[in-house]
């Protein structure tokens, strides 16, 4: 049997645009004029997002890809789904590719749910006849039957997502590429989707490539896994071994996140966490401050900034968000320092890190996100447990103020 995905010496080089990914004509003209006089060609800085990737995936294999932000995970999927061409090497894909790089691509708010199923389905590569055949099943699975003939703009974001997932889950490609999709939406529906996709892939022998930061989902969903770093495969093996290798790698992290790259989109420039003690150590119950620096290069309508406190099991323990409104203003062009103060942080002892997302509330577009930034330690030291067992690991996630009341009867 020939592999479903065969990759040989694949590489992708990006030119590092100095400020913006596209060019302004005026710069080209003015540089051209300068070049006539200086006759010096300016060479843009380049970097390899992927290099020397060799990979064989057999039909029916379910393979996870993990690695830090910028390791090249998404670039690899983009090349396999032909969104962007490679710079070197080649790949042979045997079978129809369904790409779930983002669910709900092409959804239009003015069209009804039913119309969007047709539009989205055909963008994802379904034929009209196939959509007709699956229509009932798709509507059923989405759980939005009642609103199916209502324009999408009246849907809640949850409903839109369910509809999008539902179309995606009914694609019937031989090779399915999934990127980050399971990180959103309500947990119950996520499970339903994973279940549905897993079931389909096992039953019909589908090949799946799965990119996610949710290591739990990777573990449940895949049997084999690749670990990417700086565009190279640095480890591959069964999923558990690869996740362990990833954890070992991840320990080399810094206490503060600073971004130096410039982008044309709103972006997160820095994340700092002000703990009660130095070196990112925080005493349970004391005030904690999160400082996020953002840069908004052009006016946006409704920006939303959210931040999750993640534990080592990659569970989000707390989620804070702010949506730009009348009293808050950070959507106009400029740089901002956004602070979030938690007067009493009562998470239980352990290691935590921050996931920060910057997006637009209306378009539901995420401009920038930083995951596993500014790791910090919550300590119970100095707090009397009041019993002789001491503070045990994993005894709980969170402590709340409470009072006991005892009455003799």
């Amino acid at each position: 049997m020939k592999p479903a995905i065969e990759i040989r010496n694949l590489g992708k080089e990006y030119k590092l645009a100095e400020q913006q990914p596209y060019v302004a004509l005026r710069d080209v003209i003015s540089n051209g004029v300068k070049n006539i006089f200086t006759t010096k060609l300016k060479s843009a800085e380049k970097f390899w997002a992927l290099k020397d990737i060799n990979l064989d995936i057999m039909p029916g294999e379910r393979v996870g890809i993990i690695g830090r932000n910028g390791a090249g995970k998404s670039t690899l999927l983009k090349i396999i789904s032909r969104i962007t061409p490679p710079t070197t090497g080649h790949a042979t894909i045997r079978g129809r590719v369904g790409s779930l790089l983002e669910v709900g691509t092409g959804f239009h708010p003015e069209l009804t749910g039913r119309e969007n199923i047709y539009l989205n389905g055909s963008i994802l590569g379904l034929k009209k006849a196939e959509i007709n055949k699956q229509l009932e099943a798709i509507i059923d699975f989405s759980g939005v039957e009642k609103f199916i003939d209502v324009p999408l703009k009246h849907y809640s974001s949850g409903m839109q997502l369910r509809l999008a997932f539902s179309v995606a889950a009914h694609l019937e490609p031989e090779i399915l590429l999934i990127d980050e999709v399971l990180a959103v939406g309500d947990i119950e529906f996520q499970k339903k989707c994973i279940g549905k996709m897993g079931e389909l892939s096992k039953e019909k022998g589908r090949t799946i490539l799965f990119v996610s930061h949710d290591l739990g989902a990777v573990l449940r969903f895949t049997t084999y896994c690749l670990l990417l770093e700086k565009g190279k495969i640095i480890f591959q093996g069964n999923t558990e071994d690869t996740i362990n290798a990833y954890h070992k790698k991840k320990e080399e992290v810094s206490l503060e996140y600073v971004n130096i790259k410039l982008s044309s989109k709103p972006q997160i420039n820095g994340i700092r966490i002000i703990t009660s003690e130095p070196y990112n150590i925080h005493i349970h119950g004391k005030p904690l401050k999160i400082e996020i620096e953002i840069n908004v290069p052009e006016n946006k309508e409704k920006l939303a900034l959210s931040c999750q406190l993640m534990n080592t099991k990659m569970q989000s323990t707390l989620h804070f968000w702010i949506v730009d409104g009348n009293s808050t203003q950070f959507n106009k062009k400029g740089k901002y320092l956004v602070e979030c103060l938690i007067p009493k942080l009562r998470l239980y002892k352990g290691t935590y890190s921050l996931n920060v997302y910057l997006g637009e509330d209306r378009g539901k577009e995420v401009f920038d996100y930083i995951e596993n930034a500014t790791p910090f330690e919550i300590s119970m030291s100095g707090i009397d447990p009041g019993h002789s067992f001491g503070w045990q690991d994993d005894s709980c996630l969170y402590r709340e103020e409470h009072a006991w009341h005892i009455q003799k009867k």
Partner: protein, 274 residues
Amino acid sequence: MEKFITNISPPSGFSLGLKELWQYRELFYFFTWRDIKVKYKQTYLGILWALLQPLGMMIIFTFLFSKTWKIDTGVISYPIFVLAGLICWNLFNASVSHAAESMIQNANIIKKIYFPRLIIPGSSILVALFDFIMGFIIFIAFCIFYKQSIHWTAIFYFPAGIFIILVAAFGAGTFLAALNVKFRDFRYTISFVMQVLFFSSQVIYPLQSIQQSWLKYILAMNPMNTALELFRKPLSDNQSDLNALLIGLTITIFILIVGILYFRKTEAYFADLA
């Protein structure tokens, strides 16, 4: 089971990708359907807008050029002359400007899904054609109202004129769409260029009214003049200048080739740029 084999390698060579376009013909239909539907869902008067705009312009130009400053349009009455010009111009203008913007407007789809990119500017031209058909029906109604005689050769000349507009618009539209992705400040020049083209096309005046022959040949390079010459031929008894028509036709084909070549050459990198 049908087996799809895809080979992915760095871009090289040139092909039109017609086979692939044919495979994706349904997506063509859905993009066009979406744009038409959304366009008319968002407006209160809906499809009437496609008719009101050329009619309004027709009234203004008729008032100016057949009452105030007389323009001689021969056997064809001025309102019919200018309405024919305006619906054709609108087809060209809407096709080119929508196609030029189309890649940026659909950037979020381009960045996530693969399909032949030519579908996007192509479908914006089909949307403009839909508006044109509405205007064309009104145009025929006006011809009947003004008792304008239409020669039977219209069966050939009308489609020929429209075809030249579509070909030129597709060439120019794909070229500008690709330029727009790469150079974001390019879009600001488009409306200006369109205005220049409007006044160099025989939309509101006939080319015959120009005296200098050198100027006539320069204006013949504008594909819209060729298209309008053909479109209006069954309405009048004018003798067309065959050389001028050939110049226009050559330029039209040239624009098409340059547009598609440039688009196909840059399309692989749209997802990286957009």
